[in-house]
């Protein structure tokens, strides 16, 4: 299929580049423009909290595609910030330019929630989402020993793990009673806490921050139980929200992100959305979801590409994500709340522990933790079983000695 359509993509991350690549595979003639705010071709974010902080990967070692890819595929990447969108005229306006699109894909991603203490403190807190953020952290930690991380989600924990491995003294403060939110089973969250503490990280749960003061050699974090934590640097990982401010004055339907159907289509004709920013209808779960994960950004972007190129394709991938901390790997697939029962397979980190979440006798989700590589296969099989939507054999799930592969053949 080919056309001379002008396709613009606002946002220069993973969903953008995979959508562009897919469009090009299916349409040799369309003009494709990615308008990204970052001064870099799209790159992988997972290494920012791990390999890059640990100095085992350099900048430019985790781009999705080589520099020559853009020329070979005739995909234009423009480092530009769009300031206004006029959907009626199909117009995008930046400081110095105006663009007219035939089809538009929005992949603006999500933005970190910011701490709000006071102006002085807020300006000194570090965050992590972009390469620039990671470089600032790397630069700051060179001369520093004591670091406090606010937020016990995946980002906070991965940073805590990486900084610990750089011999820093790390304290992590989490507001709720367990790490990583309520979708991770409490026993797994506890094992993760144990591993961090075994490695020397201090973890505070159920702690709210009353105030943060600047002192001579760093900061004083005052908790609501009056305890004071002295630190030299504060990094916050307290969640993120979809980046939609550009569209707030338009009639694009927005609710916890840009609403889309299973074909990446938004409420406005010829406008699509994909990745972190999209609150999409999932035909398998018959519900809307917003996912912030690597594989989703990739596959949702590819799906958007197919639809934009004229191939109507439904997106029904089973959600999947991972987190690497120290020498263990945590994985999550499907939905891990609103279940009837949870079945536990395995007893040790060495061989891996997986929880399967069952609803009406079918697997709807799974969460596992184990030494690197140990739980991946069972989680992958769980993803496939979720997709199959068939009744589950609980005996096999519970028995570590029976390989789960047999369940795929039924």
């Amino acid at each position: 299929m080919s056309s001379d359509k002008k396709i613009f993509i606002i946002g220069g991350g993973q969903a953008a580049i995979y959508a562009a690549s897919e469009i090009r595979k299916l349409d040799k003639e369309a003009s494709i423009y990615i308008l990204g705010e970052e001064n870099s071709h799209p790159y992988e974010r997972p290494p920012l909290s791990k390999d890059f902080l640990l100095n085992s990967k350099q900048e430019n070692e985790f781009l999705f595609f080589s520099e020559s890819f853009f020329e070979e595929q005739n995909i234009n990447y423009i480092n530009e910030k769009i300031e206004k969108v006029n959907f009626q005229n199909k117009e995008l306006v930046s400081k110095n330019n105006k663009y007219l699109y035939d089809k538009l894909l929005i992949t603006t991603g999500s933005t970190n929630r910011k701490l709000q203490i006071n102006e002085e403190i807020d300006s000194k807190v570090f965050y992590l989402r972009s390469l620039e953020d990671a470089k600032k952290i790397k630069n700051e930690i060179r001369e520093i020993k004591k670091i406090a991380i606010i937020g016990g989600g995946f980002i906070g924990l991965e940073i805590a793990s990486s900084l610990n491995q750089q011999n820093k003294s790390v304290t992590l403060i989490e507001i709720s009673e367990q790490l990583m939110g309520r979708i991770i089973p409490a026993p797994i969250a506890n094992l993760v806490k144990d591993e961090h503490e075994k490695n020397g990280n201090k973890i505070y749960l159920n702690c709210n921050i009353k105030n943060i003061n600047k002192v001579e050699d760093g900061f004083e974090i005052i908790l609501d139980n009056k305890e004071i934590i002295h630190t030299e640097m504060v990094i916050a990982g307290i969640g993120s929200i979809p980046t939609v401010d550009l569209f707030n004055q338009t009639n694009l339907k927005i609710e916890n992100g840009i609403l889309t159907d299973e074909f990446n289509q938004t409420s406005i004709k010829d406008v699509y959305a994909a990745g972190d920013v999209s609150n999409f209808y999932h035909p398998l779960f018959k519900n809307n979801l917003r996912l912030e994960a690597y594989q989703h950004a990739q596959n949702h972007g590819i799906n958007a590409g197919k639809n934009i190129a004229g191939f109507k394709t439904s997106y029904s991938s089973v959600p999947w994500m991972w987190s690497d901390q120290f020498n263990f790997n945590l994985q999550l697939t499907g939905l891990c709340d609103q279940y009837d029962e949870a079945l536990k397979r395995g007893t040790s980190l060495e061989n891996g522990i997986v929880y399967f979440f069952i609803k009406k006798n079918k697997i709807i989700g799974a969460c596992g933790l184990g030494l690197s590589g140990k739980i991946g296969r069972d989680i992958r099989i769980a993803s496939k079983l979720i997709e199959k939507n068939t009744d589950v054999d609980k005996k096999i799930l519970l028995d570590e000695n029976i390989k789960l592969n047999s369940l795929l053949k039924k």
């Binding site: 999705f64 991972w322 739980i375 991946g376 296969r377 592969n405």
Partner: protein, 104 residues
Amino acid sequence: MSDNWVEVAKTDAIEMEDLIRFDHGDKTFCVYRIEDGYFATDGMCTHEDVHLEDGLVMDDEIECPMHQGIFNIKSGEALSPPACEDLKTYPVKVENDLVYINIS
């Protein structure tokens, strides 16, 4: 028999659509049994330091258990991100119910 052929295991030591880990000297491999026969690749994923022995074999593909990168077992081709560097493959032969790998 040429010096480069090394005995791995009995043919029935590997289940269908499955694999075993095979270590030889300071090298490590994965030896697979699929519909089209027996095949062998390097054991370590090219993306990160993980052994593919814990990965899922489906049809003629192996999925890395860490980040779900996918490789073609027969050609070693990296098929799905984050895998982007192909796996090295090795010739395999079956003789008298034994599987051999050619490590040169």
